[in-house]
C-alpha cells in the first residue's frame, strides 16, 4: 500500500535542519512509492529550501510565508499546518523530534484526535504495517509501536535515520500557500541565544563532553580545542553544570539533552546512570578518566586512564596530524 506522507520541515538560522532530510528518508520508507509532500513555514522566501527538500527526496513542497510566522508559536504554526493537512489529507505525517517538533506535534495530534509516536529512532515497514522503534526509560529499554487507528504520525530523533543522498538533478513543484493567522494568544518577546554559534548539540556527529574532572570554566578550553578540530560540539555532565563550570544548555543526561552522535568523548565524567541515559546510544564512546574504576568505562568502546588535561591536548594534536596527512 502506497501512502501520501507529509514531512514538516524545519528552518533554523535561515537553513533547513538536517533532521528534515532524515524525516524525508523516513517518509520514503513509509510512503512505499506514494507521494512525499514537504511543508516549510517562515516569514521569508522559502523557494530555495523547498528545492533542497526536493533534492533530498520530497516529490513536491508547499511553502507558507507569513509575517506572523516569523518566530515559531504553537498556535500560529498549528493553524498553518492544519490548513495543509485538511487540503492534502496525508496518510502519514513525519517531523523531527526537535524543540519545535515536540511542542507542535501533540497539538496537531490532539486536533486530529490521532495517535502520535514521538522520538522514533528506527522505522520498519513490513507489508502494510509501519513499526516504529523508540527508546523508553531513558534509553534503558526500547519499544516497538504501531498506530492502530487513524493517520500515521511520528517524530524522529535527530541523527538516527540516514538521509537519502542529495540529488541536484531532482526536480519537483514548489508552491506557496497563503494562510491567515489569527487569534494568537502567545507572543514571543525575545530570544536570548545562549548556545554558541557552531554545531548544534542535538544534531552533532561528534561530541566532546566534560564532567567534574574538568575542574573549572577554563578547564573546558582543551575540550573546545578538540571539538574545533573534529567539527564537533561540546557538552557536559550535570556535575559540571551544577559546579558552574558551564551553562545548563550544555547538559547531557536524563534531565538535559539526549544525544546520539557517531563519536562521544567523555572527559572527566564518572558516568552516573543519569548521564548514561543521555548518551549511551552514541555509536562510539571514548572515556578519558583518572579513575580506572569509573563507571563510564563500562559503556565506553575505548578508554584511556589518565589526566584529561594531559590526554586531551595530545589527542587534539594527533588528530590535527591525521587531518594534515589525509
Amino acid at each position: 500500500m502506497s501512502r501520501k506522507v507529509l514531512v514538516i520541515g524545519e528552518i533554523k538560522d535561515a537553513s533547513l535542519r538536517n533532521v528534515t532530510f532524515e524525516a524525508i528518508a523516513a517518509a520514503q520508507k513509509i510512503s512505499n512509492d506514494g507521494e512525499i509532500v514537504g511543508l516549510i513555514i517562515g516569514d521569508k522566501d522559502l523557494n530555495e529550501s523547498g528545492n533542497t527538500m526536493i533534492q533530498y527526496g520530497a516529490d513536491r513542497v508547499i511553502t507558507i510565508v507569513n509575517e506572523q510566522l516569523k518566530t515559531y508559536t504553537s498556535e500560529g504554526f498549528a493553524q498553518a499546518v492544519m490548513e495543509v493537512i485538511e487540503e492534502e489529507n496525508p496518510e502519514a505525517i513525519i517531523m523531527g523530534h526537535t524543540a519545535i517538533g515536540k511542542d507542535l506535534t501533540p497539538k496537531l495530534a490532539s486536533k486530529l484526535e490521532s495517535g502520535l509516536i514521538s522520538d522514533v529512532t528506527d522505522i520498519e515497514v513490513t507489508g502494510d504495517n509501519v513499526v516504529f522503534t523508540r527508546p523508553i526509560y531513558s534509553g534503558k529499554a526500547f519499544e516497538k509501536k504501531i498506530i492502530s487507528d487513524g493517520v500515521i504520525f511520528a517524530t524522529i530523533r535527530p541523527n538516527n535515520i540516514t538521509p537519502l543522498d542529495k540529488n541536484e538533478n531532482r526536480t519537483g513543484e514548489v508552491s506557496s500557500k497563503d494562510v491567515t493567522i489569527k487569534d494568537l494568544r502567545t507572543v514571543i518577546k525575545d530570544i536570548i541565544r545562549k548556545t554558541s554559534e557552531g554545531v548544534d548539540l542535538s544534531e552533532a556527529k561528534v561530541i566532546i563532553a566534560g564532567g567534574r574532572g574538568v575542574k573549572s570554566k577554563e578547564g573546558f578550553d582543551p575540550l573546545n580545542e578538540l571539538a574545533k578540530v573534529l567539527g564537533g560540539a561540546v557538552g557536559a555532565s550535570r556535575g559540571a553544570c551544577d559546579a558552574d563550570y558551564c551553562d545548563y544548555s550544555l547538559q547531557i543526561g536524563q534531565t538535559g539533552k539526549v544525544v546520539t552522535p557517531d563519536l562521544y568523548i567523555a572527559c572527566g565524567i564518572s558516568g552516573a546512570i543519569q548521564h548514561l541515559a543521555g548518551m549511551s546510544n552514541s555509536k562510539v564512546i571514548v572515556a578519558i578518566n583518572k579513575d580506572p574504576e569509573a563507571n563510564i568505562f563500562n559503556v565506553a568502546d575505548y578508554g584511556i586512564v589518565g589526566d584529561l588535561f594531559e590526554v586531551v591536548p595530545k589527542l587534539t594534536e594527533e588528530i590535527k596530524q591525521l587531518k594534515v596527512n589525509a
Binding site: 526537535t98 524543540a99 501533540p106 531513558s138 509501536k145 571514548v286 578508554g303 586512564v305 589518565g306 590526554v311
Partner: protein, 257 residues
C-alpha cells in the same frame, strides 16, 4: 487561583530495567514522582504562596499512585485526585490519558495547569500540550521562569539551550523544565498534615466515560532491552602510544573521524 498539577509516577531513576513477556517488569520496583512533575509541584506551591488559591494534584493511575499523591500533599498541595483506571482500561496511550483528563477538567474552573515537560519512563511529552488543545487554552512547554502579573503571564522557556521570552494569558497550561526551581522536600509536619488532606478517587464511570471512549490510537507490540555492549578496551602502554592507538582505532576501525 485554581492551580492544578498533572502528576505521574515513574520508576526511580536508579532502577534497573528488566523485560518480561514483552513488558517492563515492575514487580518490586521503587516508584517516585516523575522528576519533572516535581518542578511542576514546587512551582504550583510557589504561585499559590504569591497569589493565593488552591493547588490540586491530579494523577491518572492505579491504587499504588496514592503514595506519590500523599507525597505531593506533604509538599504542600491542598487536594489530590486519583483517577483510577486499573479496573477499566487495559492499554493506554497519550490519547487515552488526555481523553480522561479532558473529562475531568470539563466542569472545573481552571487558571493554571502545570505538568512536567516529559515523563522519564515513556518520554512522549505529549499529555500537557494535547490537554491544553482539548481545553482550548494556550500552553507553553519547557518553562524555566513563570511570572503572573494579573491576567498577563511572562514566561522564559528553554529552547534547545536558548532562552525564549514569551508573553501569554491565563488560563494557561505550562510544562516544566529543569532550572525552574528547586523542589522542596516534604517536611515532617507536612507529612503529618498530608494524611488528613482530601484525596478523591474517581473511576471512568464518574467521568461519564466508557471504555471505548478512551481506546488508545497506538499499540505497543514489543518491548526489549538494548543489545549488551561488548566490553570496551582500556588502552595500555605509554600515554603517547595510547593516544596514537586511539586515533588509529577511531579512524580505521570505527571510521568516525
Amino acid at each position: 487561583m485554581n492551580i492544578y498539577v498533572l502528576m505521574k509516577k515513574t520508576f526511580d531513576t536508579e532502577e534497573k530495567i528488566a523485560v518480561n513477556n514483552g513488558k517492563i517488569e515492575d514487580d518490586g520496583a521503587e516508584f517516585i514522582i516523575n522528576p519533572y512533575d516535581e518542578y511542576a509541584m514546587e512551582e504550583a506551591i510557589k504561585q499559590r504562596e504569591e497569589h493565593g488559591g488552591e493547588v490540586t494534584v491530579v494523577t491518572v493511575g492505579n491504587e499504588d499512585s496514592e503514595k506519590q499523591l500523599r507525597t505531593a500533599l506533604a509538599m504542600g498541595a491542598d487536594k489530590a485526585v486519583l483517577i483510577n483506571i486499573e479496573e477499566d482500561v487495559e492499554e493506554t496511550d497519550q490519547f487515552t490519558t488526555v481523553k480522561i483528563l479532558e473529562a475531568f477538567f470539563d466542569d472545573k474552573d481552571v487558571d493554571l495547569i502545570l505538568a512536567g515537560n516529559v515523563a522519564i519512563d515513556q518520554a512522549s511529552g505529549q499529555v500537557g500540550p494535547r490537554l491544553a488543545e482539548r481545553l482550548n487554552i494556550p500552553y507553553v512547554t519547557t518553562i524555566t521562569d513563570l511570572q503572573i502579573k494579573g491576567e498577563t503571564v511572562e514566561i522564559e522557556r528553554d529552547v534547545e539551550g536558548d532562552i525564549e521570552k514569551v508573553e501569554t494569558t491565563l488560563p494557561l497550561l505550562v510544562t516544566c523544565q529543569q532550572g525552574l526551581n528547586e523542589p522542596r522536600y516534604p517536611s515532617l509536619p507536612g507529612i503529618m498534615k498530608a494524611k488528613k488532606k482530601p484525596l478523591e478517587e474517581l473511576e471512568l464511570d464518574d467521568l461519564d466515560l466508557e471504555e471505548e471512549d478512551v481506546e488508545p490510537k497506538t499499540k505497543t507490540i514489543d518491548v526489549f532491552l538494548p543489545p549488551e555492549k561488548e566490553a570496551g578496551r582500556v588502552l595500555e602502554g605509554e600515554l603517547d602510544d595510547q593516544v596514537k592507538e586511539l586515533v588509529s582505532l577511531l579512524n580505521k576501525e570505527s571510521k568516525v573521524i
